[in-house]
Amino acid sequence: MGHYAYFVAIFLMVAGLYVTVARGNLVKKLIGLSIFQTSVYLLYIAPGKLIGATAPIVAPQYATYSNPLPHVLILTAIVVGVATLALGLALVVRIREAYGTVEEDQILAEDERRDADA
């Protein structure tokens, strides 16, 4: 497989980070964040896989095993990612209720207007 997996991971990483930073829409920011996190899953899992290897089941017919630990770690990371996304979306819902919009610049403009009134 060479380094292709890494190239894919790095492309996803940079793309996700870019979306998170550049987009003003809060939901799009979360999507970017998810892509960014997903890239890390790839980064972990790809090196654990050996071509032709199997799951680490001790049996006479299998000689080479894939490393299972990255999978286990990434299972945890996925759970964390899901929780983060859920919490982020919940916050977006609350923000939409409070401000009537999910565009960051509009929210900040609203806050500034409120400050100017006070």
Partner: protein, 491 residues
Amino acid sequence: MLDHLPALQVVVPLMSAPIIVLLRRPGAAWLISTLASFVAFAIAVALALRVAETGTVSYAMGSWPPPWGIEYRVDALSAFMLVLVAGVAALVMPYARRSVAAEVAEHQAYLFYAMYCLCVAGLLGMTITGDLFNVFVFLEISSLSTYVLIALGRGRRALLAAFQYLIVGTIGATFYVIGIGLLYLVTGSLNFADVAQRLAGIGELRPVLAALAFITVGLGLKLALFPLHQWLPNAYAFAPSVVTTFLAATATKVSVYVLVRFYFLVFAPSQALEGVPVGGVLIALSAAAIVAMSLVAVFQPDLKRMFAYSSVAQIGYVTLGLGIANEAALTGSLAHLVNHGVTKSALFLLVGGIVLRGGDASFASLAGLGQRMPWTSFGIGVAGLSLIGVPATAGFTSKWYLIAGAAEQGSWWIVALVVAGSLIAVAYVWRFVEAAYLAQPPAGAAAGEPPLSMRASEAVAVALCVVLGLVTAFNIGFARRAVGLLLGGAG
């Protein structure tokens, strides 16, 4: 039972959270989380005493021996941090009852306490664990609960502050995972001590350097290393007072602690840091943080924001000592974690009292506070002196060692920098003192001190600011022990 103290340290607050959610009553929730935090504090003290007596305590989670299983490791450094985190957690609980009742909607109060327990568990876990990936898990437990806690603050701005922190915090945590992923690829281990040992024998340094960079930036975001601090002022300003206090005193400190472990116990023994100007970069960023953020603090319109910016500056002192990295400077750095933690908790607790009575803590509403809330004003004055670093306060002891560390190296400009930071701190603390004592209170301004339960926590925190400046067995004593561990090689 006593052998399992390291596990209980994390498990007690962790398990309190679901119980609170099941019970749903605010009163019971407060009681359980208070109990949990005090038990955690007792455990931390017991562990610290044991470490002082017999040295490092290693605990194999689930009886899987390290490096395969997850190791909980209590040494001089982590014991020191456990006492700080659990101590502050317990300190704010008596205060929390009235403060939370006033600042958080009643139907959400039990969630507040549940999240608080999770946050405490996460920070304690980050401190005690000896496993790289386990740090990430606990980091996320504490972070996710922190986002919720900030969002529970009054007003809709808390929501946006929490969201922004969520984005930045998640990026930081993910950078950290990338960093340890690279380390794992190189060494095949996730145990701190084991990774350090294996790194020492590795010649291929590029992935290690990449790991160093990712970990530095990732943790830098969490600890608000200038210029990665943008999330902090809003998060501190709009969160409920209890949360601001707890976060300011512990959350950033624990991230610093993890960074210290990486620098001195993982990277330093290998050749990875040779020729890499980590110290120089840290010193430069810290210098910018101390001067720029202190100056920004002077011009804030509101006490909470002022102290928030001051926190970024004070973190600068800690990282400054890490950059200098000689014995005295490191002692100053580590001691400053506790000294600043105590000082800032006192300040934010007192400011919380002002918010409770007056609605906000803007400078306009502070006029004549010395007459309206004499104890609160006096307390802020005393804690402010500790922030400045006046002798016989906690803040002085750490600045003394930082200056000594810089002077030992002959870096006079760093001495000048630390001193300049203190002088700017005089300026912003004195802004408060003048408003409180030399201005007439507006007619009809709210008067009266916060309730007794809140004042009890405040009094303890303020007293600690002075006591830790005179009796330095804990802050300086433990810091010196920990420095011995850090500079003594792989621990």
